[in-house]
Amino acid sequence: MTVQELPGASYQPTPPPAWRPRTDAAPLLPDAEPHRVLGTPAADRVDPELMLRCYRELVRGRRYNAQATALTKQGRLAVYPSTVGQEACEIAAALVLQEQDWLFPSYRDTLAAVARGLDPVQALTLLRGDWHTGYDPHEHRIAPLCTPLATQLPHAVGLAHAARLKGDDVVALALVGDGGTSEGDFHEALNFAAVWRAPVVFLVQNNGFAISVPLAKQTAAPSLAHKAVGYGMPGRLVDGNDIAAVHEVLSEAMERARTGGGPTLIEAVTYRMEAHTNADDATRYRGDAEVEAWRDHDPILLLERELTARGLLDDKTVEAAKEEAETMAAALRERMNADPVLDPMDLFTHVYAEQTDQLRAQAAQLRAELDAEAAS
């Protein structure tokens, strides 16, 4: 029975004029379960060289985390948010970037910055406390480590948009935590990115917690990747501890962005094995059992199993990776043990391009105080 035949309905109803069904090619719903590569048929397709590189980087990354945490105990760092357990995401994020691409790290992502090539001492400057951003962002195209959560995401969109307007082949990769997805800036950034079809990729490291708050109190969505739907961009769900999977999903998204396909939202399911920072007491909000369950899903372990099964991991390789990591750690330790050289007058140098009269007067005041102190 058609509408017209209905008793009482003697006219043809029409849909609202302005409404058009969208027929975007992009898949509407993200993967039903986290995409995995290691230990699946897909692993077969991964370049062994890449896997071995990942392995070395993971080992180095783990060692970097350990060293940084040790530095907090020695008072050399004010605070350190560890990425132990999340190294696959951090490393993959760095590896998928081309030279000209930009990385937008959150405050936790010093490892990604280091893996991209940033001097670890410069990466840790913020946390040591001698300055804020310890590096020139343009040098490695790494935006300042961003503490106000999710506020770096619109920056990534704006930068990617500007590059596209200029015709440059640049993709921005922005990192954010599961907690950060609740902020308004997350929403606004993803919406701008989709409307502008900006070449930007958003990687959410869902490590289970925002400090003490578990994901269940953060969202009721089927997954964080599902948020992509509301912006009209592809959403992907990936096993964040499977570095081959993260690398693959990220690479696809970077490629899509690079070729005009617009932004992608990726949720990487991972776990923060250590406390929020060295100052945090994780026993207040989670049990050992949960942490233990993740040990068997450690990113290094997953890759080791794959490499071993394929006969790619011999003792020499393992040793070499360890040694490389130890060398990095030793150098870092040594350099961080030197007191940074401080100039209090820096306080006034970069507030404005040109100092205001008021700042000049204040600088003179501090100068005089310091001189008096030195003289006494």
Partner: protein, 341 residues
Amino acid sequence: MTTAARDRAAAPAGRKPATMAQALTRAMRDAMAEDPTVHVMGEDVGTLGGVFRITDGLAKEFGEDRVTDTPLAEAGILGAAVGMAMYGLRPVVEMQFDAFAYPAFEQLLSHVAKMRNRTRGAMPLPITIRVPYGGGIGGVEHHCDSSEAYYVATPGLHVVTPATVEDAYGLLRASIASDDPVVFLEPKRLYWSKSDWSPEAPAAVEPIGRAAVRRTGASATLITYGPSLPVCLEAAEAAKEEGWDLEVVDLRSLVPFDEETVVASVRRTGRAVVVHEASGFGGPGGEIVARVTERCFHHLEAPVLRVTGFDIPYPPPMLEKHHLPGVDRILDTVARLQWEN
């Protein structure tokens, strides 16, 4: 003499009067024509030309890529502008009204104001944020805030506000040219003020940071800016009847604050009143009083007083006249400057 009258007097003969709105539009146009990195963005700035038509014609001339109607999200707009500036562009952002800049405050306070400092100068952000501000236009709630106190208290921002048509052009050009972020406060109720300023021969663009003595006088100094300048000039005219010869200083920028010009004036007159629309408590006036008093203490015949908006949320249209500093209230306050002593 009103601002418009002054401006007319100052302008060469034969020019057609232009409005402040037109001068602002022209400033953006000229900046965009000269510098391809200048981009204009905000809500309704493209096709519509802005709700006040300040960006009128720009999208047509420069295309949508440079004059962009953004989605409706102020933090997103300013945050995206930060990213664009990181890549070498000079975004000029329009906030539709004063109170609608508040959603962007985190981006403004934590990034825009601080990025140069955070990166030791490696990443300056040459962003101009245009904010129509203040009352006197019969606007409903959230459309008439004088929000300058928030900007002034944020190191790293320049805070500029024109009071004349000429300055609207010159200061906006200077702001866009600045390598630092500028909050450019546009006094809504002066948008339609006129002068013989001509877009054909725009004033020279001087660096921001210098106050202007708009009227010289010997009895006392009125220190003001933006929407209150015409009111102060009118009050100065009216004061002549009372035998007071008032000097009027237009700050033009709150940050940098031109202490020298202000102090020189007050030292000369020995008396001063600060006038602004923003609420008094915690407003910029307190800062000005404190600085002027410190520098002019022994020259002062009376404490520096203030005429400001009351310490209340901005009133509804029908009551705003009671809130805004007017000529009478300014004269009443001048009268309190201990003339007998």
